[in-house]
Point group: C2
Chain length 135, copies 2
DNA sequence: CTTGACCTTCCAGTGACGGGAAGCCCTATA
DNA sequence: TATAGGGCTTCCCGTCACTGGAAGGTCAAG
């Protein structure tokens, strides 16, 4: 199977697949013409990678997960540890974004949004002390 | 004022301040010795930038906000538009992260996390169709 | 035999900096 | 006055996970 077919089947761009080979996540064989020749297990691995990436796992996480996936004798605890660490990062990011969202929504709400120059958004960004309190 | 003092007062690393100059967000004067010489308005602008960045505005957003900030005759609607677009991006990101979080939390919950190799997390990543449904 | 799709490698750029080297400048102290 | 140190300068590379594009080789169809 050529890279184009694999791209279609996995939903990953060909560029991405080449990149994954470059960093050693997959090792497709090569045909006499120099083309990459993918077998089913390559496609399967790339699908795995695509789904793990879409869950926000980093490339290094994926490398670890893939190694565990291919290790028949792994302990599920090892996988769970990686997943829990990632979940914690997600939670931290969500918390951060929620805080931003609250501040920003408050400022937007306070801004008339008309032709006049008065703007609480800019006023808040201009002050030295952490503004944004609704008091 | 030298860059070190400005870094301390604004909380921005000196590297970041130099970068902001490089991309034209600030234009500090130069002393005879080649050192950057910051005046109060520079410090104020950098503080503005730091706060806008901490709210997640992109550099290009910041450039626009800064221009509006310095334009006495701006319409608050222009500021509000930028802020609302950013809020929408934040909301999209939060939605995406919540979806990830739900899937991941579900998988983690289903994983025994012991010495045995059976692992729903890997099983889900291995299948072709979008798994993770609690059904 | 040509066209056009597909494949290859290599190089550069993204966003927003951070690390570190090489070298100049300024001040304080011996 | 010599020197030690800290701060400042520019420059270049590295980050993360790709993406775009150029230049050129390969293959199937007409």
């Amino acid at each position: 199977m050529n890279i184009g077919d694999v791209a279609e089947r996995t939903g990953l761009p060909a560029k991405t697949i080449r990149y994954y080979e470059e960093i050693g996540l997959v090792r497709p064989a090569r045909g006499a013409n120099g083309y990459r020749r993918f077998v089913e297990s390559d496609v399967h691995k790339l699908g795995f990678l695509g789904r793990a990436r879409s869950l926000g796992f980093s490339i290094e996480d994926c490398r670890g997960l893939l190694a565990l996936y291919e290790d028949e004798g792994r302990a599920s605890a090892d996988v769970k540890r990686i997943a829990k660490a990632h979940l914690a990062r997600i939670d931290a990011k969500i918390t951060e974004l929620n805080a931003m969202r609250a501040t920003l929504a408050h400022l937007i709400d306070a801004c008339a949004g008309d032709h006049r120059p008065d703007c609480p958004i800019l006023a808040d960004l201009a002050v030295e002390e952490g503004g944004g309190e609704a008091s």
